[in-house]
Amino acid sequence: MRSKFDEQLALLHKELITMGSLCENAIALSAKALDEGNLTMSEEVFDFTGQINQKERDIEAMCMRLLLQQQPVAKDLRVISSALKMVTDMERIGDNSGDIAEIFTMGHITPAHNKLNIHDMALATIKMVKDSIDAFVKNDYKLAKEVIEYDDVVDRHFDQIKLQLIRCLSEPEADGEFALDLLMIAKYFERIGDHAVNIAEWVIFSITGSKEA
């Protein structure tokens, strides 16, 4: 019975890794579309968000089945309950990547236009998502802690972008549509960072049994 359970847990692990890499791809692609002004690329982001949503449903069903059939305790219980919570954050990361792509397709932001450091903010966010998934894959407490601390970097980027946009808007020929869209995009990246923090916290919970602030 235990070996069957171990197989199911290994499969759950694999599915979470797959979902995590779909999230990384979605956010990286939306950032790249933004960088290169590539509208086709932003369409591809929506394919990823669809796949991410489906993965969330599959993993939820898998977790419910494991809870029902195996009545897990101890580490098993923590891993399965963490998985159930993590997929919600991953799904939101997918949605936020889609939101970024959607705003971009409105055409108010062009690479020439985009002189603000949204690129650096996107990279910082991608790093957080990637590291939170890696921390889960490797069961790495230290890396999960680093993700949580790195959120400050993303927050600082967000604050800088806000200040730059305020300056932009104070200029006589200010482009309000550009400024508002870019602010929304920056906010979505900032939210993605928060979801990565949540994932890292669940990784810590599955390792230690307590959720650290």
Binding site: V73, A74, D76, R78, G209, S210
Partner: protein
């Protein structure tokens, strides 16, 4: 309420319990878990000296009940077992009427008044959640009851002598799920008045009903903690391996 200090037990040359130390809280359910042969039933039986008569047995250390060592020469074993009652794995009603099963203990302790006995029988059967099922057939033979009813009758019989502590040795392992659920509910309601120590092989049962859990392995008590802690974050890898089904 029960404090176990450095308890060791040998069957002949074989040591069955190694230096057990634990404080068992009153009016709570403490579950003893562990693989077969780990010493949990031996430990349970030691708590009311049920294994006194086993040839070649030797015990060192102390079990203090109400601050008195139960192995002291001046302890009256009959009185000890009146205060610390026991319910066994298989229901074992006496081959007599339901009423007489319950009245048996109080009678041996000198109660003869019919009114008093009637009162004890009703109270005990009510406490064991079986009164409504048997009140119209108290004079019928107890062996005619179902397995689950027999087990609750045995619990009522244990309660009839007004114990403080109830030891239960796998009380549901011979019962169907419905009867098991009734005994579990009963155990939870009984802890308001009694201290319960239960041996169980059923992990889910331990999760559902117990406040504290002690994990035994090869005669040692490996870990003792709140049930929630044991089943969510055990501190010893052997506990984790046992409760997650990796051995045992």
């Amino acid at each position: 309420m029960i404090t176990v200090k450095d308890l060791c037990l040998w069957y002949g040359n074989t040591q069955a319990l190694h230096h057990i130390n634990m404080d068992i809280p009153e009016k709570a359910i403490t579950a003893l878990i562990g693989p077969s042969g780990c010493g949990k039933s031996t430990f349970l039986k030691t708590l009311n000296r049920m294994n006194d008569l086993i040839p070649g047995i030797r015990i060192t250390g102390e079990v203090c009940y109400n601050e008195k060592n139960i192995f002291s020469p001046d302890v009256d074993v009959n009185m000890l077992r009146k205060e610390i009652g026991m319910v066994f794995q298989k229901p074992n009603p006496f081959p007599m009427s339901i009423y007489d099963n319950i009245a048996y203990g109080p009678r041996t302790h000198g109660i003869t008044s019919r009114v008093k006995l009637d009162d004890i029988v009703e109270r005990s059967l009510r406490d064991a959640a079986i009164w409504d099922e048997v009140k119209d057939r108290l004079r019928k033979n107890a062996l005619g009851l179902s397995g689950g009813q027999q087990q609750r009758l045995c619990i009522a019989r244990a309660l009839a002598v007004s114990p403080d502590v109830l030891l239960m040795d796998e009380p549901t392992s011979a019962l169907d799920p419905i009867s098991t659920s009734k005994i579990e509910e009963l155990a939870i309601s009984l802890k308001e008045k009694y201290t319960i120590i239960i041996v169980t092989h059923n992990m889910q049962q331990a999760v559902r009903i117990s406040d504290k859990v002690a994990f035994f392995l090869l005669g040692e008590m490996i870990e003792y903690n709140d049930a929630e802690t044991i089943f969510s974050m055990p501190s010893d890898k052997r506990t984790e391996d046992y409760i997650t089904g990796r051995f045992g």
